[in-house]
């Protein structure tokens, strides 16, 4: 094998899908390059814990160089950069720094927030779709509490202490639960100048149920759990706009708040395409066949959240979760490693889904089995620990969780914000 010339595989994105593909593909056949705008692999299922001061960003991030340039990747390479344009005619991708040619391209760039065209929403809300977004969210939540604690104007104070989460999916439920725990357990002890009743946590969801991707029992349990944590869950509420610190809904109601956490929509990462008219499908996902080949493009694949593969079981595509990305990465790695054999179409093996609401409160659906309470919470904990990359991270996360569990308090309410100069230096532009 060593004598045949290797082909060059470029993977856009070092997330679950891209990294698994890079790890499992035959490096005797392929020179692998992963391009990512961040120099780390991140762990989206726990972004809400960064936002709620439960975990450090470093605990759920792993340096891509350390992973990719280790022995198990046999010479695969990491390149720092955001892919801005894909030139399918010239077979290359352009980042802000360089041009990288490919023989085969895999788009594994994942998703970002969808603001559905609501004017200026992007600038006014906080989001949870990247590590830095979660850090920003944490800082702003802490800022509101600190400023409220020294604020004497009742109107301003009420607005500072009203936290609205938009979207009742796993991210929305999880961050609302974490805020509910803050209100119920932490405020009284650490913010004596704020009466816990002053703090309002509101979760608004447009449809009539939370966690709609899970079973009805999980939806109901999540609702009960959040209400026990003093979260005001409002279902069937369609948000219209957010101007002048006022959130407006389709039913004419409004909420005055300084802090809106937006978890209500995602969309595929955008790229400019040169040399083809093929465009992404619904949700800005690239339409692929059962082999993850992007329809209409040669030698271009898409995997994970950004891929839209439909079949009878998933007429609208697979759920945009880590398991799908991991399995698509593995299947594509197997197919590309056996060029002489018939490629195997992708079949998703659903291992179940879970969401956590708070300490000892979680919901798990595995096939027809439904778990809740402490057992579900423990299952959630184990699964997330095992999926984290790196023993150091697992150890540190485990310690943090045990600490929080027994002290009823996350130890990381730290407002790290630059005093004067931005974190991006003027010379680095």
């Amino acid at each position: 094998m060593g004598t045949t010339e290797k082909k060059k595989l470029v993977i856009i994105g070092g997330g679950f899908g891209g990294l698994n593909l890079a790890k499992k593909i035959d490096k005797e056949l392929w020179n692998v390059v992963i391009v990512d705008r961040n120099n780390y692999h991140s762990f989206p299922p726990l972004f809400y814990q960064v936002a709620s001061s439960g975990l450090e960003p470093a605990s759920i991030s792993f340096p891509l160089r350390r992973e990719i340039h280790s022995r198990k990747y046999h010479g695969a390479q990491y390149h720092f950069g955001r892919v801005e344009k894909i030139d399918v005619a010239a077979r290359c991708v352009h980042t802000q720094f360089e041009t990288i040619g490919y023989d085969t391209l895999v788009i594994a760039a994942g998703t970002t927030n969808n603001f559905f065209g609501i004017p200026d929403l992007e600038k006014r809300v906080y989001t949870l779709k990247s590590t830095t977004e979660a850090i920003r969210c944490r800082n702003e939540l802490l800022d509101r509490l600190e400023r409220a604690s020294v604020c004497t104007n009742p109107e301003v104070r009420a607005r500072m202490l009203t936290f609205v989460v938009v979207g009742g999916g796993p991210a929305g439920v999880e961050i609302a639960g974490a805020l509910g725990e803050l209100k119920r357990y932490i405020l009284k002890r650490e913010y004596p100048s704020i009466n816990p009743d002053e703090m309002r946590v509101i979760l608004v969801e447009g449809t009539d149920a939370l966690l709609r991707a899970m079973g009805p029992k999980s939806s109901a349990d999540a609702l009960t759990g959040l209400r026990q944590l003093l979260v005001d869950v409002q279902l069937g509420k369609i948000m219209k706009s957010y101007d002048n610190r006022c959130l407006m809904f389709a039913d004419g109601s409004k909420i005055y708040t300084d802090t809106v956490i937006w978890t209500a929509g995602i969309t595929g990462m955008p790229f400019e395409i040169e040399g083809s008219d093929v465009a992404p499908g619904p949700g800005a996902r690239w339409v692929v066949d059962k082999l993850n080949r992007v329809k209409g493009l040669d030698n271009v694949y898409a995997i994970g959240d950004i891929a839209l593969m439909t079949d009878d079981k998933y007429p609208k595509g697979h759920p945009q979760v880590a398991q799908v990305a991991l399995q698509m990465g593995a299947n594509l790695a197997a197919n590309l490693s056996r060029p002489d054999k018939e490629p195997r179409p992708f079949e998703y093996r659903d291992k179940g889904s879970m969401a956590t609401i708070g300490r000892d409160r979680a919901v798990v659906d595995i096939g027809k089995v439904h778990l809740k309470g402490r057992l579900a919470w423990f299952a959630w904990l184990v699964v997330h620990l095992m999926t984290l990359l790196g023993m150091r991270n697992r150890t540190v996360v485990f310690i943090n969780w045990m600490w929080s569990y027994f002290t009823f308090s996350a130890g990381l309410r730290l407002l790290f914000r630059p005093d004067k100069y931005p974190l991006r230096h003027h010379w680095a532009e």
Copy 2:
């Protein structure tokens, strides 16, 4: 005691001095308020480890509310805010948010960088005097390596890979050593497109020795240690300016570099004073008597780095280190807790000083005893672990250090920089 009316003690700064004072003062006699611009206690001796990706910022930070609002502080309070003005006539301090009255005031605000009036230096260099400065430094160091790894212009690439540390005190020696380790151990493994010889680490010091506050053996050992780590140490070099990415020296030599880490000067945190003409002394430190009373002001004390107490042994004041602040805080707490007794003048008990150069390389001076090498490094490690606030932090730091020690690699080279929106939100202004 419970029947006498308590007096209000306001402490500016929750560092080593202020926190120790708040902990040890008699809370039956005093209502204690700590005001700090950050909501966490930080650990300046390890800022360089944040900058060099050795430790997470959260590992060397402790939420002030969690400490101060715990039982051992008996009702002491934390207020978020930066003190901008002290009104000694009206006996109050003004933050950007509120006015806080006091009966007795303690200035324990520490120091910040001194740029000696060199034009625009502040905007162009990276510094290590706060947690956020250290985070910024880490991000920029990682940015340079990533950008250099995809840069083909030799001139630009050389400038990106030239790292200059200005100042040969402990902070300068420690960060230069960490950069030397990066060059020597990490680059080859994780940045295959950079030849380690391309990376230059230069430490410039204006006087003729490193670590001048320590003994001559420590100075010499630090020099040897840094050179073993491939650091180019240049002594007797006075920096003049830094313009257009060119560092100019008094001897006419120059270095082209994108990255200058400035550790060459500190100065007391500035305040506006109303109601008195008393101003700080040399180094912007408040001149105090042996009881830490600020000369010329009533009911105002200063402790720690920002206090200037001179005597025969310390004609220019005490060294600006944690031990002095801790001991001044404890002594002032004892004096203020026994108002009926003769106050005890402050006497500094020098427990020794230490600096680390790298793995298994450190220098320690305790009285006339000098240690170096692995033993000194181990002593340094134990002392710093014990001084950290919080068992969680100690545990996590210990794990990180052991991990790095055995893998020859810090696991935290993570470039967390906002994509689009700044970490400070527009509505938070």
